[in-house]
């Protein structure tokens, strides 16, 4: 009843539309450059692992993945830990300027990264964090912290108030209540928020590229090096691209049962 006519066909067509470009990238990553440029083949006729081998043996390549993961994890930890108490405060209490503060936070989630690129560069150079994972992790907080507060606020509001009151009557101190009772109750919400922080930090490039030069360069910025005097190294570019999809795919697999409700930010 609640499905529409031809839904299988629509779904199949849409999934093909989503997968085709990704297939082409994977396909190309297993081809030799000669095959890519000279002929049009739907699958690699002379499959090769040379591009992947190059990425895994060349430090300037694989360090990019480590750098990226480093600042993504740092950012996720910072965002969640500062957002948790705030989400509780927004959900339970009314205080001076709460609505304005909430809107101000949200407006930062919407601020274009391009606006902040240059001032961030100045700021983090001045305090000596430039070219460290910390700079990128802190910079990404500008959009991840508001998002985490927003998501977690929805989940905290789902916890009945009586639970807080009972815990306080039982003599729990606030920090103990927070860690022992509230956090386990909204564990899935924290998972969803962490997923989103991971996601938005992992996919962002402009700030990550502007705030790093050598030591903390993210993989996404290193990929642009494949343009050389000899022309584009398409195979290597494709292989690097495929490897950036994998962490995301793994994370999705772990949260697959929460994806739908997670994307509604706990607010259906």
């Amino acid at each position: 009843m609640h499905s529409i006519p031809g839904r299988r066909v629509i779904m199949a067509l849409f999934l093909i539309f989503l997968l085709l470009p990704i297939y082409w990238l994977v396909n190309m990553s297993f081809k030799t450059n000669a095959e890519i440029v000279s002929t049009m083949t739907l699958w690699p006729h002379t499959p090769t692992l040379q591009h992947y081998r190059r990425i895994f043996t060349d430090e300037s390549w694989y360090s990019g993945y480590i750098n990226s993961l480093e600042y993504v994890v740092l950012n996720t930890i910072i965002s969640i830990s500062v957002a948790l108490p705030a989400a509780y405060a927004f959900s339970r209490y009314r205080f001076l300027g709460d609505k304005h503060l909430f809107f101000w936070l949200l407006s930062n989630r919407m601020a274009p990264a391009a606006v902040y690129a240059l001032p961030f560069f100045n700021l983090y150079s001045a305090i000596g964090l430039f070219d460290t994972p910390w700079a990128v992790a802190l910079a990404h907080c500008i959009f991840n912290v508001p998002l985490a507060v927003w998501i977690l606020e929805g989940f905290v509001s789902g916890v009945p108030r009586e639970i807080d009151e009972t815990a306080f009557l039982d003599g729990y101190s606030f920090p103990r209540f927070f860690i022992k009772i509230l956090v386990p109750l909204i564990a899935s919400g924290i998972g969803v928020a962490a997923f989103f922080c991971f996601m938005f930090s992992w996919v962002e490039l402009l700030l990550a590229r502007t705030l790093t030069s050598v030591h903390a360069k993210p993989i996404a910025a290193i990929m642009t090096r494949t343009v050389s005097a000899a022309g584009m190294d398409w195979g290597l570019l494709a292989a690097a691209g495929v490897l950036t999809i994998i962490p995301g795919a793994l994370v999705i697999w772990f949260v697959r049962n929460y994806i739908a409700s997670g994307f509604a930010l706990g607010r259906v």
Binding site: L18, F95, N108, A114, L118, T210
Partner: protein, 324 residues
């Protein structure tokens, strides 16, 4: 649920306030400072007052012309992708399978494009669309359609829009799917008993339930498409000519390319202001919708569970079942 007034809650919010203020307020002060000055390099700054802002809003100057043109292109782009992604997302959400392993499989594939770094999204479409090595470009040209996104402005636009649809329709679809999942089965049974048509079910049951998530989807999609940078930059570099140069691309060109700090800062402020206004409108609409829903629920407790007139007989039926 009534909230209690407690000013100490500020202590809980303080960490967030500090972290975001550090990354938002300090840089913004720098931007305001730059926007009033002109620089000729060597760290020499000259007071320029509101000169840059005047120039920015005057289409006859170089800066103003570029800004307004890119703003127009950006608004057009946002409207086009919203017009495609929202209906398509709803259709895809309605087409989701209901049971079994296919649900998880579809969800994972749908979410996949969202987790790909933005420049890799650009790379994927660059490789996919090129007439010489890309499947799409090659096929189109083989079919006799002259397609080349590097030299033809229309093709560049089609590619950028197709890329955005590919990248973000899943977000709309997943949000709608979450809204649809929250509809109890009884609604559909009731509609069936009433003999409601497919369209009536959609209009009276599914659309109202998706209202809230759709609002979030439109907000997120509008904002993100309004500040799009990486994907079109990788694919077209803003070209051919200036045909796909959106506001962010123009801004980065001025700020990091020409190092014209004053102009870039003035542009940043106006850009930010536009976003702030749109954000505020959405926020007000959203909170008002929330208040209305709450008021409705309080007025008539059953109203929430009774989406439309068509279904009233069904509610009676349900009550009878309860009695039996």
């Amino acid at each position: 649920m009534d909230k209690t007034v407690n000013q100490k809650a500020w202590f809980l919010v303080l960490p967030v306030f500090l972290v975001v203020a550090f990354s938002a307020v300090l840089p913004l002060m720098t931007v305001v400072n730059y926007s009033m000055q002109d620089t000729f390099g060597n760290n020499q700054f000259f007071w320029n007052g509101v000169g840059w802002f005047k120039e920015l809003l005057d289409p006859s100057t170089d800066l103003g012309g570029r800004f307004l043109a890119s703003l127009g292109r950006n608004l057009f782009f946002s409207l086009v992708i919203l017009a495609i992604e929202v209906p398509l997302g709803i259709v895809v959400a309605l087409s989701m399978p209901r049971h079994g392993w296919t649900v998880a499989a579809c969800l994972v594939i749908l979410a996949l494009p969202l987790l790909i770094p933005w420049n890799v999204v650009g790379t994927i479409w660059q490789i996919f669309g090129r007439p010489d090595i890309g499947l799409l470009g090659y096929t189109l040209n083989a079919m006799g359609i002259d397609y080349n996104y590097v030299s033809n402005a229309v093709d560049a636009w089609v590619t950028v829009i197709a890329m955005d649809v590919w990248h973000w329709t899943s977000l709309v679809a997943l949000l709608c799917y979450a809204g649809l999942k929250s509809i109890p089965e009884a609604y559909y049974q009731a509609a069936q008993i009433d003999g409601a048509s497919r369209w009536a079910v959609f209009k009276a049951i599914q659309l109202p339930k998706m209202n809230r998530v759709l609002l979030i989807a439109v907000l997120l999609r509008f904002m993100d498409s309004f500040m799009i940078y990486t994907e079109p930059f990788v694919v077209t570099g803003g070209g051919p000519g200036n045909s796909t140069t959106f506001v962010s691309i123009e801004l980065v060109k001025i700020a990091l390319g020409q190092f014209d700090l004053g102009k870039a800062a003035a542009l940043s402020l106006v850009y930010n202001l536009i976003i702030l206004i749109v954000c505020w409108i959405f926020y007000t609409v959203m909170t008002n919708a929330g208040v209305e829903r709450k008021a409705q629920a309080e007025e008539e407790p059953a109203a929430e569970r009774k989406p439309a007139g068509v279904l009233q007989p069904a509610m009676a039926l349900k009550a009878k079942e309860g009695v039996a």
